[in-house]
């Protein structure tokens, strides 16, 4: 099994940070020195150029989530932190893989990519490069299935996530909460 299961140990934090030099290093250094485990990490600019968003999947068995969030919040360039529990998040990830696909197995690989609704983005003499976007568990399954054909190279982006939308008539638009353990996370959120 892949390490990227969606068991309850994995919580997703989306961390809004100032878009300044060295901010990712501050976040990574914090996790390292306090002994928190990161399962995956993705960084991208936001639609506001002053800020970037870091999506971190943390192992909550390595440290209490409350501590991880509060320590993160102490970093001056961290503006807000949203915590998504596995059951309240829409999580997606992208996988690229180059797979052995000799003529006798090529059809099977193509079929598998079709079943998973992936795409073939490059074709070589005896291999294929495929792309698959989806929920992390789906990527785990795909990865398990193509392994027997021979994976030459495989990369995953680490997951990004947004809160599930709330479909009830009243209440907030989404089901996520920006944890308001200090007023500034509330304000900034």
């Amino acid at each position: 099994m892949s390490a990227f299961g969606t068991d309850k140990r994995h919580h997703t934090l989306t961390v809004l940070v100032e878009n300044k030099a060295g901010v990712l290093a501050r976040v990574a250094s914090l996790f390292s020195r306090r002994g928190y485990n990161i399962f995956s990490l993705a960084v991208a600019p936001t639609n506001d150029e002053r800020f970037s968003r870091i999506t971190i999947v943390v192992d909550v068995e390595s440290a209490p989530l409350d501590q991880v969030m509060k320590q993160l919040d102490k970093l001056i360039p961290v503006v807000s932190i949203t915590e998504l529990a596995p059951e309240t998040a829409r999580e997606r990830e992208l996988l690229l893989a180059t797979v052995h696909a000799a003529p006798e197995t090529r059809g099977q690989v193509i079929q598998l990519v079709g079943v998973f609704e992936g795409k073939i983005i490059d074709v070589g003499l005896d291999c294929l490069t495929v792309m698959l976007a989806g929920a992390p568990t789906k990527l785990d399954d795909f990865e398990d299935l193509i392994r027997s054909y021979g994976i030459i190279e495989l990369q995953r982006t680490g997951r990004v996530a947004l809160p599930m939308l709330d479909r009830s008539d009243h209440g907030s638009r989404t089901s996520a909460t920006v944890l308001g353990f200090t007023s500034h996370t509330e304000k900034a959120g």
Binding site: V17, E18, A21, G22, A25, R26, S29, L30, R33, R50, P64, D66, Q67, K70, Q71, D73, K74, L75, I76, P77, V78, V79, S80, F181, T182, S183, H184, K187, A188
Partner: protein
């Protein structure tokens, strides 16, 4: 007005009302040293950059204002890493300015280049690498704001040489110009949580106020005293909080922790409610965490919410500044019907918190003259422990040299009550904390969290610069003294008359104590020699008065002589007994229930 970056930097420090900075110039910081000549800011030239950092810490701890240090790039910057780590652990506001190689050279392994913002990322509250001279005033304003608000701490500003040389149009930022969208410390406690805390306090039968360094940082000593007196709840003051509540007050139990006194440690162990005020359940206080205060509920007030539930789960966790929360708590106690009583204010029960001469404290038990009848059984137990397990030593036994406790008692009694005491780290630090009587806030300057040997001499110098009106004594060990003694040259040349008491037992004493107790007296690399170096000769060569004291009858005259000298530093080399150990002691990893008292108290000799 057009200024160079260097001029803008110094002008910005002046705008922040900096009166003194501690530093040492070098290549990359050269441009910044030029405008220092024309500045109103006093610059104290240290002999090693570590000294600059600890001086700034000592200054900050006694004045409550941020300490400022300025050093060059590379080794200058790395030499101040230890003080930054120290200040981070003890939440001391520092602003450190480092030179950096020119921006075009950064990353090229240039001469005296080091990635100081990377190195200090984990030991500063925040740091900045300035890449545009126009940012200098704003960054300086941000740096002072971050260092001094919320949970205070050290910050670092890295200034490349070309940025210092570039020109910029001077401005001074308004508070709204600060670019800190992620920084909004909370100072006011949540009223509902404060109400819950008040309920717990009124229901408790064996409560203890567990005061930490946050009391001093918040200037909450008066509030703490009112809270203690109105509720009748006894107070323990941690190593970082010595002086935040007067030792002479009948409700003061003194220091808890690994070398705390029996009553303070055991009061917490048996307590049913710990009211933690700006304290952080440090491992030296709790001993083995799962055996710490097993019956106690916890109210935890801290300005840093990350301290809540970090070590010990709190029943009520209040984020806020201690002064503000204590005031609100007093109001909540009023609202819940806690009667006002003058019985314990001032007068006979009161300690001399604002009396310079120090009115005599009520001797004896904590049970004296307290209002809350319901707590009487608790206070009676505490008094029993205090009578049964006071701090002890045998003054008559002088066979092995001076008793360090006796030296400290004599020193304490021969100096003004508001004397500032700085210490290094080790046995002498614990003896000083145990045997001094701290009746005033901000009179105890030590390295608590990091445990930095060599802290005392430079910290005392910084303290004396901050409070020239006070007598400043450093209580140091011989091991510590050798680490930073060169700063006495700084003190002599700058006419900063600090006084140093070296408790010279010729050993790394605390390590020796552990080797004696836990390593079957196998002494590994702890012997230092009593007279190599010759401390008196060394002191005199640095422009100080040096005095050696070997016999008990010389102790008081030597201290009197030192106290009479006010134009240069004085160093007294007290030859102390190497076999003397610090008791009580909770061994590392043990439960506080397994506190080891002085052997004489077990045998029942006294």
């Amino acid at each position: 007005m057009e200024l160079t970056g260097a001029q803008a930097l110094i002008k910005s420090l002046e705008k922040q009302q900096v009166e003194v900075m501690f530093g040492l110039p070098g290549g990359a910081i050269l441009p910044v040293y030029d405008p220092i000549i024309d500045s109103s800011i006093r610059h104290i030239l240290v002999r090693h950059e570590q000294g600059a950092g600890h001086m700034a810490e000592g200054y900050a701890q006694v004045t409550g204002r941020p300490g400022v240090a300025i050093v060059t790039s590379g080794p200058g910057a790395t030499n101040i890493v230890t003080p930054l780590a120290d200040a981070y652990m003890d939440s001391i506001p520092l602003v450190v300015v480092t030179g950096q190689v020119a921006t075009s050279s950064i990353g090229s392994d240039a001469f005296q280049e080091s990635d100081i913002t990377g190195i200090t990322m984990g030991i500063t509250k925040h740091n900045w690498l300035i890449t545009d001279a126009a940012d200098i005033p704003r960054v300086v304003a941000e740096a002072f704001h971050v260092a001094t608000t919320g949970r205070p701490g050290p910050v670092l500003i890295d200034v490349p040489k070309d940025v210092a040389q570039a020109s910029m149009e001077w401005y001074w930022p308004q508070p709204s110009d600060l670019d800190l969208p992620g920084y909004h410390p909370v100072t006011e406690g949540d009223p509902e949580l404060i109400r819950q805390a008040a309920e717990l306090i009124l229901a408790a039968e064996r409560p203890v106020l567990y005061a930490g360094g946050g009391i001093l940082k918040a200037g909450a000593s008066e509030g703490l005293r009112e809270l203690a007196e109105r509720t009748g709840i006894p107070v323990v003051t941690t190593l970082m909080a010595r002086g935040s509540f007067p030792d002479s007050h009948p409700l003061c139990l003194g220091m808890p922790g690994m070398h705390g006194n029996y009553t303070a440690v055991t009061a917490m162990q048996r307590s049913d409610l710990l009211i933690a005020l700006g304290s952080r359940f440090d491992d030296r206080v709790t001993g083995r965490v799962d055996a710490f205060a097993p019956e106690a509920k916890v109210v935890h007030v801290d300005i840093d919410p990350a301290e809540h539930h970090k070590v010990r789960r709190a029943d009520v966790a209040i984020t806020g500044d201690c002064r503000s929360v204590i005031d609100d708590l007093l109001a909540a106690l009023d609202a819940q019907g806690l009667p006002h009583s003058d019985a314990t204010r001032g007068g006979s029960g009161g300690a001399p918190i604002d009396a310079v001469e120090g009115a005599p404290a009520v001797p004896g038990s904590v049970a004296a003259s307290l209002p809350r009848a319901r707590l009487s059984p608790w206070r009676a137990r505490l008094s029993e422990w205090q009578e049964r397990f006071p701090l002890v030593y045998d003054p008559a036994d002088t066979s092995g040299g001076l008793k360090p406790q006796m030296v400290l008692e004599t020193l304490r009694d021969a100096t003004p009550d508001d004397t500032i005491v700085a210490s290094g780290v080790g046995q002498h630090q614990m003896f000083a904390s145990q045997w001094w009587k701290f009746d005033y806030p901000n009179t105890w300057v030590n390295s608590g969290g990091l445990g930095t040997m060599g802290f005392a001499v430079p910290a005392a110098i910084g303290a004396k610069v901050g409070r020239p009106d006070r007598t400043v004594w450093a209580v140091d060990g011989d091991g510590c003294f050798q680490m930073t003694a060169q700063e006495l040259v700084t003190a002599s040349s700058e006419r900063i008359p600090v006084k140093i008491a070296i408790l010279n037992n010729a050993y790394l004493g605390m390590v020796r104590q552990w080797q004696e107790m836990f390593y079957e007296e196998r002494y590994s690399e702890v012997y230092l020699s009593p007279d190599l170096p010759d401390y008196v000769g060394w002191a005199e060569s640095m422009g100080c008065v040096g005095i050696r004291v070997e016999s008990p009858e010389e102790v008081a005259p030597a201290i009197d002589k030192a106290n009479s000298i006010d134009d240069r530093p004085v160093v007294i080399d007290f030859r102390t007994d190497a076999s003397e150990k610090v008791f009580p002691m909770v061994a590392s990893g043990s439960s506080n229930d397994d506190i080891v008292v002085d052997p004489s108290q077990i045998r029942g000799d006294r």
